[in-house]
């Protein structure tokens, strides 16, 4: 697209080779290439020289060496005897965990606030606009360290905030009861995945049918029913096994149950509240971009408001909303690196420790950057595919 708008070579002035645009184009490029290569070589030879002169270890051999440090929270089993490579994987998984939760929550919060901003309710609109203006004008770093300070200064484990059985909130985090592992849960999980696919197929079938025959059929509730019902039935069929693993207070801390650490919650709350404000603005702009006439026309045809939202407003608004939201998701994922400020063991934090234990700054920072770059590119590509799909619908 950009190519089409680019101006082509202009008219030539004089016959001299020097004035030929084509010649100068080639010359510029050769100069640039030479410059890039020279700078690259300069930096490369310097770093090599420096590392060799000071006999600093280089290369990625350290990845297989034993890390020797522990990591506070990990999605996979990890032990201080494991390698630096595995430690970094633990970090990457933690980054993904907080990013995925962050994206989901920021979308919900941002969507809610964005809709509230265009609401006909004056109070809701004002409050939402206050939220947006305040939150997006405060640095995300401040959001994160503020919440970290708040959660660390909660009462200790013995004086936990304890709203109901099985849930404790204290300066060690949010501790809650979880069902004890049971072989039946594997099947429940499978059932959920099957339900997900089934629901998707059902919605698609219903859409096709509507387009073919013009007959409308409710899809949201049936789809939800399939997604929840299937696992529920599976669970009931297997005798509804449910034993809670409740947190109990030990010598220092709670044991049992599941824990969300203050660092995780602080990072999550910080980036969600911040990103949510930007998403709210995007959603508002998206909704307002749909001409009022469209909605009024749809209503005057006697369509129900849910239907209008689903088939008239949303498809058009989404086209405006998706591209900038993608960039918000990307910046949320990148902002999860703020975990290093507050001690959440995400990628940058673990790579930082690795950097210090091994002293291999170039390699450690290189790993950080590469992983984020791959993550960004993946999200970009996925969202562009989605984007292309919504654009094709334009017909």
């Amino acid at each position: 697209m950009a190519q089409a708008e680019t101006f082509q070579d202009g008219p030539r002035r004089g016959g001299s080779l020097l004035y030929s645009t084509a010649f100068r184009g080639v010359a510029y490029q050769i100069l640039l290439a030479a410059g890039v290569i020279l700078v690259g070589y300069f930096l490369y030879s310097n770093v090599n020289q420096n590392l060799e002169r000071q006999s600093i270890a280089t290369g990625f051999r350290f990845l297989t060496e034993s890390a020797g440090f522990d990591i506070g929270e990990s999605l996979i089993p990890y032990d201080s005897n494991d390698s630096y490579g595995k430690a970094l994987v633990v970090g990457i998984l933690n980054t993904l965990l907080v990013s995925v939760f962050g994206v989901v929550l920021a979308t919900i919060l941002g969507g809610f606030m964005g809709i509230a901003r265009v609401s006909r309710n004056w109070l809701a609109a004002k409050l939402a606009s206050m939220y947006v203006e305040v939150m997006r004008n405060i640095p995300v770093v401040l959001h994160v360290i503020f919440w970290a300070a708040v959660f660390r200064n909660l009462p200790g484990p013995k004086e936990s905030i304890h709203p109901f059985e099985g849930l404790y909130f204290n300066n060690r985090g949010l501790i809650f009861a979880v069902p004890k592992a049971n072989p039946a849960y594997v099947w429940v999980g499978v059932a959920f995945l099957v339900g997900l696919v089934a629901a998707f197929l059902f919605v698609r079938w219903a859409d096709r049918r509507r387009e073919r025959t013009g007959k409308f059929m409710p899809t949201f509730w049936p789809a939800l029913a399939i997604m929840i019902g299937l696992p529920l039935v599976t669970w009931l069929v297997q005798g509804a096994p449910l034993v809670w693993d409740k947190p109990t207070f030990g010598a220092f801390n709670f044991s049992g149950g599941a824990v969300l650490t203050p660092e995780f919650i602080a990072l999550l709350v910080g980036i969600v509240v911040y990103t949510g404000a930007f998403i709210a603005e995007i959603v508002r702009a998206g909704i307002q971009s749909v001409p009022r006439g469209q909605i009024e026309a749809a209503r005057s045809l006697g369509l129900r408001s849910g239907f209008v939202m689903r088939y008239v407003t949303l498809p058009q608004a989404l086209r405006v909303i998706v591209p900038p939201t993608t960039s918000q998701y990307l910046s949320l994922a990148k902002n999860s690196s703020l975990g290093v400020f507050i001690g959440y063991p995400e990628l940058v934090n673990v790579a930082n420790t690795t950097l210090n234990q091994t002293g291999q700054a170039v390699e450690a920072v290189g790993i950080m950057m590469t992983v984020y770059l791959l993550m960004s590119l993946t999200i970009s590509i996925i969202m562009n595919l989605y984007n292309r799909k919504t654009i094709i619908r334009e017909r």
Partner: protein
């Protein structure tokens, strides 16, 4: 528009020139470089009582700081010609490797990996300590074995971080590490109750208890020291002369104490002494300084401007400090300690 762009570039160029100090000195010996610059760039802790801490006027004090001063006194003749660069645990080695600092004097433990694969040289040990643990008295814990299930605050990239992993593993007890980059934030997290235990060099704990706790009596430091942590100054490899200076500056402070030469009496000793070893150290018998590429008064200046090891210890940890830490292993070899000054001959 044209005028704008041109003067814009000028302004940019001017500000770049203004901000940068591209001291493209010859890649000569460190001593020449330091003399040219007129100050020693010394990497220190961002704030650990007894080792390095900046007071409200921005003046640095501490044992690590005193060794920076001793090196500056030897090379530059003035113990005050030091530029202190406070750095986090993670920043310290890259800063040294890249040449941002000349010497790293920052509670740094000597280990094989650091010595070999980080391209460092370590001077003689300036302080012997080990991993220590501090807990709240309400936990009633007095030794490591009682810490099962505890949450432990620690700074990343420290030897402490690896030590506690090994210590807990050996005792087969579980714990949760909370790893916080900033030393101050880590200490704050312990005192606000985020962690049950704070772990760092044993000698660093009393200072934090004394100055960072709301009520120092509420906290208990385990008496046992759990690992070997020899702390020393580090420099990058590639300059043997500078390495020699670091080595012998440290030994001068050890020897001074052994021969009972201190900041207070050094002038008197210089006049009266008949001991050739002391005369050599103080430059009365010349020739040694030259071998290091310094003048003959280098040893005298270290003792006069900074002091013997006893002066340094007493000022920062001992009787003259608020910490009142017993010397432990940091005693002279003649008194059962590990300080053993090599002969200055």
């Amino acid at each position: 528009m044209k005028a704008l762009r041109r003067s814009g570039w000028l302004a940019v160029a001017a500000s770049v020139a203004f901000l940068s100090t591209p001291a493209v000195a010859a890649d000569g010996p460190m001593v020449t470089k330091i003399k040219q610059r007129g100050e020693l760039a010394c990497g220190v802790h961002t704030g650990r009582y007894g080792f390095a801490v900046a007071d409200s006027q921005g003046k640095w004090i501490g044992l690590d700081v005193d060794f920076c001063k001793a090196v500056a006194a030897a090379i530059l003749g003035d113990a005050n010609k030091v530029k202190y660069v406070p750095m986090s645990a993670v920043q310290r080695f890259p800063a040294l490797q890249s040449g941002e600092i000349d010497v790293l004097s920052r509670t740094t433990t000597v280990t094989l990996t650091r010595d070999v694969s980080l391209g460092l040289h370590f001077g003689p040990t300036t302080f012997y300590t080990g991993t220590g643990f501090m807990v709240r008295k309400t936990t009633k814990a007095t030794k490591l074995e009682q810490l099962a299930g505890a949450t432990v605050c620690v700074v990343p990239g420290s030897t402490t971080e690896k030590n506690i992993a090994a210590l807990f593993k050996a005792r087969k007890i579980k714990y949760t590490p909370v790893v916080i980059e900033s030393q101050k934030a880590m200490v704050g997290a312990y005192f606000s109750g985020r962690c049950d235990v704070m772990s760092m060099d044993h000698a660093g704990l009393p200072g934090h208890r004394r100055f960072d706790a709301k009520n120092p009596d509420e906290h208990f430091i385990f008496e046992e020291v759990y690992s070997k942590e020899p702390l020393a100054m580090a420099i990058r490899q590639g300059d043997d002369q500078f390495y020699d200076i670091i080595k012998w500056v440290t030994h001068v402070t050890f020897n001074a104490e052994e021969y009972d030469v201190h900041q207070a009496n050094v002038d008197e000793v210089l006049k009266t002494t008949t001991n050739p070893d002391v005369q050599r150290m103080l430059g009365k018998i010349g020739g040694l300084g030259k071998k290091l590429g310094l003048d003959d008064q280098w040893g005298y200046r270290i003792i006069k401007q900074v002091g013997s090891y006893k002066d340094i210890y007493d000022r920062n940890f001992g009787e003259k400090s608020p910490l009142k830490l017993p010397r432990g292993l940091n005693k002279q070899w003649t008194q059962g300690g590990l300080l053993y000054g090599y002969p200055i001959k």
